[in-house]
Symmetry: C2
Subunit: 79 residues, 2 copies
């Protein structure tokens, strides 16, 4: 079973990486870019378990390791 | 208009970050994790343009800046 986790900085937390990308895009002539946020995506290949258990387990992984929940939010997709 | 870009290392390209996460998850007692790939997700806020133009423009951003197409593949979602 596959799971995909998105980890993004929470709204209001400064994202220097995203800002750097925005500036670089502007310098390349892409004028219409009003904001950029950069985060991580983590794709997990899990041993055979049902979707519900997988979702709970991946949520626990996020809390313990994958995300810094003080400043980051995460989103889990299963399947 | 919002756009989301996923940038992942191509299959076959070694992903040391993903491997590090896999080991760390194992050390935390998550046994069922068979593989981990880590990539980037970039969320763009674009000035008002239609979806087709946005998709083409974001594709160009990926080719020029957001992805290293030698070793990375990208996927663009609009909306």
């Amino acid at each position: 079973m596959k799971a995909r986790v998105h980890v993004m900085l929470k709204d209001g937390v400064l994202d220097p990486q995203g800002e750097a990308v925005r500036h670089a895009l502007g310098a390349l002539g892409f004028d219409g870019v009003e904001g950029v946020r950069q985060g991580k995506v983590i794709e997990l290949e899990l041993a055979d378990i049902d979707a519900e258990t997988a979702k709970a387990q991946v949520g626990e992984m996020c809390e313990k390791l994958l995300a810094n929940t003080v400043i980051e939010s995460y989103q889990v997709e299963i399947g």
